[in-house]
């Protein structure tokens, strides 16, 4: 399967590529080759780092190409900053718009005595009917590392609690995003990536 992994120079892709290969996919990386986005059977937008780095997606023409692919029904998975990009924007870089598929914006964790960034293994409260998180049982943990987060909305596939409830995963049709790192979340993470790779419009396995 042709999985196009978008490189926007916001950190390290090695772990994501390794996990996809482990699951039998053939990831191809692009930082601006639009034909790879046009031919993609799956698109993964990873990302660790600063929201401002997504400016590169606009500069290289990837934003409209990805938008068109999503409209064609290509399954899309955003990871960490890649998920936050699906929203209107983030207070981490207010001048930089996101894709705007979800109308809300991402914000920094509220002031508290807890440590920020939120680093470590936390649990998921999975919404019924999530296809991305199918088979993830209560009490399974995934690995997070982030200071900004998406809001609690109806598009959430899972909520996690740290300082406040936030969107651990979002899902709307073929559009999916996870705040945590499935490529670093052991067997649970690989299960989620496998769900993404086997996703189809009919909802059959």
């Amino acid at each position: 399967m042709r999985v196009t992994v978008i490189d926007y120079k916001a950190g390290n892709l090695t772990s994501v590529l390794k996990a996809l290969r482990h699951l039998g996919a053939e990831p191809e990386v692009t930082d601006g080759n639009l034909s790879l986005v046009e031919a993609a059977e799956r698109i993964v937008l990873p990302g660790v780092g600063h929201f401002a780095a997504t400016e590169r997606l606009d500069a290289t023409g990837l934003t409209p190409a990805i938008r068109a692919a999503i409209a064609r029904g290509v399954p899309f998975l955003g990871i960490c900053v890649g998920m936050q990009w699906l929203y209107a924007g983030s207070s981490e870089a207010p001048q930089q718009p996101g894709l705007g598929h979800f109308k809300e914006s991402c914000t920094h964790f509220a002031e508290s005595t807890e440590k920020v960034p939120h680093v470590g293994w936390n649990s998921l409260e999975v919404r019924k009917g999530s296809r991305l998180l199918a088979g993830v049982e209560p009490g399974e943990y995934v690995y997070f590392t982030h200071s900004y987060k998406g809001p609690v909305t109806n598009d959430m596939a899972a909520v996690t609690y740290y300082i406040e409830p936030f969107a651990a995963a979002v899902e709307r049709g073929n559009l999916m995003g996870v705040q945590f790192h499935p490529e670093k979340s052991g067997a649970t993470g690989l299960k989620i990536l496998r769900n993404f790779l086997s996703w189809n419009a009919e909802g059959t396995e």
């Binding site: 950190g11 660790v48 440590k115 470590g120 009490g139």
Partner: protein, 259 residues
């Protein structure tokens, strides 16, 4: 609920895992890739690989070790030792590390922390601090002295002050090793760990002295650690991360289980 992390640490020398007491008397403890995979399978929340005698000549060996270790590892993987420049860090990331830990080079040139953070994100930068209580200081704990070069060379820097600077420069986590406790299996230095953890807003990983389950419960409680590193307790079949976490859960510590 966020869980306390148990991190398996592999001290590596010349491509092999080694363990010593207070940084000396090294003995062989196996192949890094095999050990890392075993720890992950047995419930470790994260793997740290420290090249304890990193030399320029040894870089190729280390990168090969990192590549082999990362290949089938699907938990967070941090690599440290001998990372002197942002380019060194980039090579280690390319080989498959998720985080790098910097120590001596960051003390020599603290802008290294900013530089790696800018390119790879703060979450990818762990600042490792080796500190020894200073009985001559007015506050021997907060003013514990920071050492470099594997604990061989004093810097005159004070632990809390340096940890704060590291945070301001964009470190994502602090890996704090008590040189007084390291390798003794007599318990973590909880006072030292708490002093640092309460002085910064980023997670602190406690290291040095793990010997029993109670030591871990203590450093997560009194020591206010967010994670704890263990090397000797896992080697030679003494215990596993899973059995350690099962015991910690009974003691009321929130840990990732089942794992």
């Amino acid at each position: 609920m966020i869980t306390k992390r148990i991190i398996a640490c592999l001290d590596v020398h010349g491509g092999r895992v080694v363990k010593g007491v207070q940084f000396v008397d090294l003995v062989d403890a196996g192949d890094p890739a095999t050990q890392a995979a075993r720890h992950a399978r047995e419930g470790a929340d994260e793997i740290v690989l420290l090249d304890i005698t990193a030399t320029h000549e040894g870089r190729a060996t280390l990168l090969d070790t990192v590549r082999r270790t990362a290949r089938e590892l699907f938990v967070p993987f941090c690599v440290g030792g001998g990372i002197r420049t942002a380019d060194d860090a980039a090579q280690v990331f390319e080989a498959g590390a998720d985080k790098v830990s910097v120590n001596s080079a960051a003390l020599k040139d603290p802008t290294l922390i900013d530089a790696i953070g800018r390119s790879f994100g703060a979450q990818a930068v762990v600042v490792a601090i080796d500190a020894r209580r200073d009985p001559k200081a007015s506050d021997p704990v907060r003013d514990a002295e920071v050492f470099v070069q594997g604990g061989r060379k004093p810097t005159g820097r004070r632990v809390v002050e340096w940890a704060r600077e590291a945070e301001q420069r964009g470190a994502g986590e602090i890996l704090l090793t008590s040189m007084d406790s390291d390798g003794t299996r007599a318990g973590f230095d909880c006072e030292l760990t708490a002093a640092v953890s309460e002085s910064v807003g980023i997670p602190v990983i406690a290291s040095g002295g793990a010997g029993t389950v109670e030591h871990f419960a203590d450093v997560f409680g009194r020591g206010k650690a967010d994670a704890a590193l263990a090397a000797s307790i896992f080697h030679f079949g003494v215990s596993s991360a899973r059995s350690l976490k099962e015991e910690l859960a009974k003691a009321g510590v929130s840990v990732r289980l089942p794992c």
